[in-house]
Symmetry: C2
Amino acid sequence: MKKALFASPQDAESAFYEALTKADLDAMMAVWADDDDIYCVHPNGARISGVESVRESWRKIFASGQTLRFQLRESQTVQGMMLSVHSVYEHVTIAGETRPRGPMIATNVYLRTERGWRMVAHHASPVSEPAAPTVDDSPPSHTLH
Amino acid sequence: MKKALFASPQDAESAFYEALTKADLDAMMAVWADDDDIYCVHPNGARISGVESVRESWRKIFASGQTLRFQLRESQTVQGMMLSVHSVYEHVTIAGETRPRGPMIATNVYLRTERGWRMVAHHASPVSEPAAPTVDDSPPSHTLH
């Protein structure tokens, strides 16, 4: 199978959300590093580690048949030579629904490999607080850890 | 103020959880990089960015007066030269309660700075699924993204 090479973490991130939108499992797994240390935390979920388990988790999600649209906002990056950490708000709309679901916040980690930049970690969680910042960036109050 | 130098990401991580347990705000902020790009996602929360906002969020948490105990399990690391990404299950017990709360999963990111390894990102989320893997590592079913 011909695998895509991603020249930048941003290229890998674009391919990740495109694969999610298209529910394309092969395209999704082409974004991930071929490594047992990769991990994925779906919203409210436990950690899933390794290529086979990560693939199986996406297969089940894609098998649900829902078509998702993602609007990404407020991307923020910490960039190293070999690793790149992106934080992004995911505003998800499910096809057939008129209003977006509450936002998710995702931490996406990319590794520079011999085959280009690949995802090594995806940690997504729902933002269930009121007043998540979208235009107003004043800090909301927090009482939980 | 004398600031600690952390020789490894693990040293910084140990100091982070010690500061949390002691509700020591200065010790907590000594772990974080002095950088506007740092960010923190508390469980169920929105993203908080920058030193001042991150500090204020911990101040409010510590002001609640709860004493927390953390048991860390199943640590997993992706290590680069300048960045280190740790995933860890946090089993939290609140003083006065006999049973631990449901586990959290945290992604902790450390940056190698001129002043040693420092935290640049903390993203924690509750694991609300049943059957979070602790001994059995078979993947749980997922229907959400």
